[in-house]
Amino acid sequence: MTEPVRPPGRGTTAIDGAIALIAVLLIVQMWLLTATLEAFLAGHREPVVPGAVLSALLFAACFGLYLLIERVDRESKRRPH
């Protein structure tokens, strides 16, 4: 049984896409932090818990994408060119 033929540079594209997605998620998380802090300092505590939960979800998504990057990177290095 032969290995499926993958086009060259496929791993690179996947990693670039994942990094771009992480960057977008990070911008959303940055906005979330500033909005939560601003509301908290103004004496409003309602957005504090949802803000922390959303931030944890965004971090989990970033971490998942990072694991994907690691895996794709490892596979692309192992693959003979």
């Binding site: 998620l25 939560t36 004496g43 818990v49 971090f59």
Partner: protein
């Protein structure tokens, strides 16, 4: 050259950041953001309402109907507005606009508070935003009648029913 072989530090390669390293940096930044949000959550859970002092704002009959007085509460850097809207009706709000902290003042129609910086308007009845960029209502100063005068006794940031 001999020294290059002996000290084999390649500056260009040292500065090179792999995509994996860059991804790691982004994820660590994300972890920092999460830590910030958790810090706010912890502060919120352990926060206790400060007991604000009671302070006399005006004496009996000092302010005419339709009159306005600026006072400072709870601290010396917290300007507030006291307005007498009817014979027996007073309202007081923080004078700092919730958008960018410009000073608000009564609009010419006498029914709203106006922030001149970005044309934000607040209701005179409850401080809610009527128009413009302010994201939240004006903090309301809680008033009490004591000994014939009017006293400021607390601040409602605008979330509770008043």
């Amino acid at each position: 050259m001999l020294w290059k072989e002996e000290f084999s530090v390649h500056a260009a390669e040292e500065r090179y950041v792999t995509r994996r390293q860059f991804g790691k940096f982004l994820v660590l930044t994300s972890l920092g953001m999460l830590a910030g949000n958790l810090w706010i959550l912890a502060r919120s859970l352990w926060h206790r309402e400060p007991r604000l002092p009671a302070r006399q704002v005006v004496g009996a009959g000092e302010l005419p109907v339709g009159g306005v007085r600026v006072f400072r509460y709870p601290g010396p850097n917290d300007p507030c507005l006291l307005l007498r809207t009817a014979e027996e009706s007073y309202v007081a709000y923080s004078q700092k606009c919730t958008h960018l902290s410009c000073a608000v003042y009564p609009a010419t129609d006498g029914k709203r508070l106006e922030c001149p910086c970005h044309e934000g308007y607040f209701s005179l009845e409850d401080g809610r935003v009527l128009q413009g960029p302010p994201p939240r209502p004006l903090p309301r100063i809680l008033l009490e009648r004591r000994d014939g005068g009017l006293w400021a006794v607390g601040v409602d940031p605008g979330t509770r029913e008043s």
